[in-house]
Amino acid sequence: MIRFRTAAICCSIFVVLGAVISGAGASHTLGKLGAVNAIAGAFIVAFAAAMSVYLMTLARFPVSTSQAIVGAIIGWNLFSGALTDGSALIKIVTTWVLCPVLAAAIAVILYKLVVFIITRSKIHMFKQDRMTRYGLLLAGIFGSYALGANNIANVMGVFVPVSPFSDISVFGWFNLTSAQQLFFIGSLAIAVGVFTYSRRVMMTVGVGIMELSPVAAFVAVWSHSIVLFLFSSQGLESFLMRQGLPTIPLVPVSSSQAIVGAVIGMGLLKGGRGIRWRTVGGITSGWVTTPILAAIMSFISLFFLQNVFQQKTYRPVRFALTLEAMDHIREAGVPTEKLADLLDENFPTAVQFKKALSQRIALTPMARNIIMAASEIDEIRVTQSTIAGLNMDWFTPELRKALEPLEGSEFLHKWQLQEALAERSPLWRFDQNNRDKNKDLQNKLAHLYETFRYEK
């Protein structure tokens, strides 16, 4: 219906736009899963994911970069002794199941609707053909945009915490944040990939699972695009928030799963006889092997990079139950009597700390998270030069006012800086009724922790 070249060019342009304009949403969730905190490590994580995807693509499976990157991050977590955030992982894996199901449901509804409209409006075969063509192109454009927005986090998300770029202003028209610059580079790479390697996978999806009529193809691409959009739109999220409705998690979902789900949904609608279950089986088994493959590859590569090439693949995150941390934990409502003997003991990794905790006390995941967060050691020093280096627009003068008296002070824990700021200005306090503000504050604090960190 549409030439490969046309499809590839449209896809490339809109992937770049989607990534740069609205790529930020889904990357936060990945950051929560495991904050890869050294550039060499980030490189290996991305590399391991890329290799797994490359191998699977060679085998002609529409593989999910989301799964590969999650696998690779878990590999990094295992290697560096960081804890894998169970709730973030569950959130991501749930969406993996949810995404194809949702895509299938949307495809079925959309298909019924389109068929109804076509049979009702009695369009001439050629006109219908023409409309399907333009519709497909539009769907492809929307899909590429959503893909860029949702999946750029897979490609570049791990680099965000260690980005070497600073914000630049383009002729004073708009600002490109360092993350957006990263996303731009990543999306260019996606565009190159579209032109070189996507053809065979396109064939698997387009012909392999089931022979698709043009109208069915149109519906498949639209449902895929809608699903990706749902999982990456910050605009939609804040809209739902304002209406007090439950929000859809902004998670990098797999576009391949979405499209496969949509195609299967329509196949089932037609009785399921047209579906080649062997191909479907191959694809689904790929969904299990990819994350595992990526995790193993990531772990092994990190090992090599660390021990053979002597590169720093992670910045160790230490834990210690300092006196202040104890107080903080108690204030948060978690009893600390049984932890008294751990006072001021140093734990070089999160895994060891967690083990020590669970030997002494049975904790709910929430209580454990409170303890972990409170006792994470992060040496922070506020200096004149770092305050001056902050982005003027993002950190307004009122916010800086609270920051300036802290000059010269040092903190052992992140939360201490936050509390110190909150004491000085209500602007730095979290507001239970304003989720937008909280989110922005979170981002600002995260930025401060990064810039004020110093190493002995």
């Binding site: 369009i123 075969m125 050629f126 053909d129 009529s213 043009p214």
Partner: protein
């Protein structure tokens, strides 16, 4: 953009025109034979001229359609079917023309007692072709209506079969006729009846195409 739309609207019109030609050839055939039976040779010859012209136009339209379908890669997934449909329809047109020519070449002597049956036979055949033309139009414009017209094709085909059998029987029962005359008339009856058979073949193909296009 504008030019693209214009060109493709052109295609829709061309298909309509082509189907018009097929239907027209049936009507011309009917009036031609009727003129022949009445002995109005002048009018008969004029009809032959018109049907030749119609066939010419039909061929030209078909060729241009085929070219556009392939060069501009329109409806790639069903253009093979559309092409085959157009060709079958064109062969129906050719058969009408051929039958009329045959009347002109052989100038068969048809007894008055057969006139009524001949007219009836030709009416059935033309109706069956009309029905297939309507089905084809529906195939392009409103696929769910194809079935509404399709069943009429078989109805008229069966009718023409019945009449043709009856006619052939009465031709062979008529003792005054020489065997050669009988055989000639029989061939004419068969030739005309064949057109309805072909129309039914096209209908069978078309119903498969319609299933393939159905959503």
């Amino acid at each position: 953009m504008g030019s693209i739309f214009k060109r493709k609207i052109g295609i829709e019109k061309q298909i309509d025109d082509f189907l018009d030609k097929v239907s027209e050839s049936g009507l011309l055939f009917k009036s031609g034979v009727s003129a022949y039976l009445k002995g109005n040779i002048e009018s008969f010859e004029k009809t032959i001229e018109s049907i030749v012209e119609t066939e010419h136009r039909g061929d030209a339209l078909r060729r241009s359609l085929e070219e556009q379908l392939y060069i501009q890669t329109l409806i790639p997934e069903s253009r093979g079917d559309v092409l085959s449909l157009l060709e079958s329809m064109d062969s129906l047109l050719d058969r009408f023309k051929g039958a009329l020519w045959r009347f002109d070449i052989e100038r068969p002597e048809i007894g008055d007692e057969f006139h009524e049956d001949f007219r009836e036979l030709i009416n059935c055949v033309v109706e069956s072709v009309e029905a297939i033309v309507r089905s084809s139009r529906a195939f392009f414009k409103d696929i769910s209506a194809v079935a509404d017209h399709m069943h009429k094709v078989s109805y008229w085909e069966t009718e023409s079969d019945k009449i043709s059998t009856r006619l052939q029987r009465s031709i062979f029962r008529k003792e005054e006729l020489r065997l050669s005359h009988r055989l000639q008339l029989r061939d004419f009856v068969r030739h005309v009846d064949k057109i309805a058979d072909r129309a039914e073949d096209v209908a069978d193909k078309l119903s498969i195409f319609a299933i393939k296009r159905s959503l």
